[in-house]
Every structure is written in C-alpha cells, then in structure tokens.
C-alpha cells in the first residue's frame, strides 16, 4: 500500500461525507454528481487494490492475507451498494446514508493500513 494513496482516499471520503452531510442538513437528497464522487473514490480503491496486489507478489512481505483481502473486498463492495441504496431514497436520509458509507470506507481503509503494517 502507498501512504499518499491512502491519504488521498481518506481525504476524498471525508470530502464526500461532508458534502453529503451538508445536503442532509439542507434537507436534500443525493444528487448524481455525488455519485460521480463516489465513483471516483471507488476507482481509487481499485487502484489501491491493484497496487497492493502487485506489492504482495513482488515484495517479500507477510500480510494476513484473508484478513487484508476481506477488508479490501468489503471496502470495494460497500460504496456501490450504499450509493445505489441511497439514490433510491429521495429524502435527506439518502444523503445521510451516503455520508455514513463514505466514513465507513475511510475507516476500512485505515484498518487496511493497520493490517498491512502489522505483519
């Protein structure tokens, strides 16, 4: 894993969460542009997964495999499912859902970093 990529991801998640919370406070539902934001984060997560995979193959590094890939898979699945679920709701609660999902992804990414370094 690369630290700059992790920081970028956490910042992006925080930004999306802030954006969605601001919408929730103004009683607005999720808009398409926010879903594009979520898609950008998802793309970063895919890049992160590829980088981590390559590093695991090329470097001599012992990581708890099942744990690491379990967290990574969860992080990858969570945002698309949550975005879909949020977008189907047309009240402010859709914005709260997106914010919760973004915060969760940031948390999962931080856990990934811990698991990566723990070995």
């Amino acid at each position: 894993m690369l630290l700059p990529l992790l920081i970028l991801l956490v910042v992006a998640c925080a930004a999306l969460a802030g954006w969605a919370l601001w919408f929730a406070l103004r009683d607005r539902a999720v808009i398409l542009r926010q879903l594009f934001g979520a898609a950008a984060i998802e793309a970063l997560l895919v890049v992160q997964a590829v980088v981590a995979g390559v590093q695991l193959v090329t470097q001599d590094r012992s990581v708890d495999g099942p744990l690491f890939w379990g967290y990574l898979a969860t992080a990858l699945v969570l945002l698309p499912v949550a975005a879909f679920w949020a977008f189907a709701e047309r009240t402010k609660w859709s914005s709260v859902v997106l914010a919760v999902a973004a915060v969760t992804v940031a948390f999962l990414d931080w856990r990934l970093w811990q698991i990566w370094g723990a070995a």
């Binding site: 099942p66 967290y71 499912v81 679920w85 709701e89 009240t91 919760v100 999902a101």
Partner: protein, 160 residues
C-alpha cells in the same frame, strides 16, 4: 386498501434507509469476522466463534427484513432485532463477569465495544423504529412514494 394501510409504513424508507444501511454495514462486519474466524482459527475458541457466526446470521436477517418490510418481514425484523438486544446485553454482561468463558471476543463482547458500541445502540433504535412504523399507527410517517398510490396494492415496492 393501500399497501401502507395494510402493512404499515415501510421500514426501509426515510430514517429506515439509514437504519438498514448501518445494519448492512454491521452484517458485513459480522460475516467477515465470522468467516475469517471459522476459516483460520475455529478450534481456538469454538464458543466465541459460533456466537460470531450466529450474530452474523441474525444481522443479515435483520437487514433483509428491515429493507423488505411487509407483514412477514416485519415479524422477522421484530424477532431478529429483539434477539440482538438480548444478545448484546447477555454476552456483554457475561464477557464482563467471566472473560474466560468465551476465550475470544465476539461482536457482542464488552457490549459491542470493538464496534464503537453500535451493536448496543442499534437494536434499541431498531425496536423503536419498528414500533414507530407499526401498521395502523395514526399519523404515521408515510413513504412519499407510497402515499400518492392508494390503489397500488399490487405494485412492487420501488426499491432495489
């Protein structure tokens, strides 16, 4: 008769949408945790890891039931959410009184401490929500997508 009158307001809409999301995340966490434990170290603490698996199944059922709504799913939701409330209190108390019994931690150990106490709070919020959206409740918050379609008892819910 409208679907809302027959089954009560939808449990997966409005605030319920958030509730289902948090339940879904917790279900994911519990599945991940239990499958990891079962695959790598079940023999170390069979009681704790069996409990993990049971809680994962219950969280998945509760998530599904709250998302689906309808009379039957509502009953499933009541049962699973109430089970969680009892589970987190019982296991939390037991893990505090006799830490050795479980050998290892579960989602419910220490009243859900490892998950920011979300497992402790969530079932009670769930019970409140099920009560709040119970069928026949006057002045209940109705699903906006449902309110205008009073003769749509056969239409399927507009959910994913």
């Amino acid at each position: 008769m409208s679907r809302t009158e027959r089954t009560g307001p939808r449990t997966g809409s409005g605030f319920g949408r958030l509730l289902v999301t948090v339940y879904g995340v917790l279900a994911f966490a519990a599945i991940g945790r239990s499958s990891y434990e079962l695959a790598t170290k079940f023999s170390e603490a069979p009681v704790a890891y069996s409990l993990s698996t049971l809680s994962a199944v219950v969280y998945v059922l509760a998530t599904l039931a709250l998302a689906k709504g309808g009379p039957r799913w509502r009953a499933v939701a009541w049962a699973t959410v109430a089970f969680e409330a009892v589970g987190v209190i019982a296991v939390g108390a037991a893990s505090a009184a006799a830490p050795d019994v479980f050998g290892e931690t579960t989602v419910w150990s220490g009243f859900g401490q490892g998950y920011g106490y979300v497992p402790l709070v969530l079932p009670f919020v769930g019970l409140w929500w099920l009560w709040h959206t119970r069928p026949g409740r006057s002045g209940a918050v109705r699903d906006p997508e449902d309110g205008s379609a009073h003769d749509s008892s056969t239409t399927s819910p507009p959910e994913a």
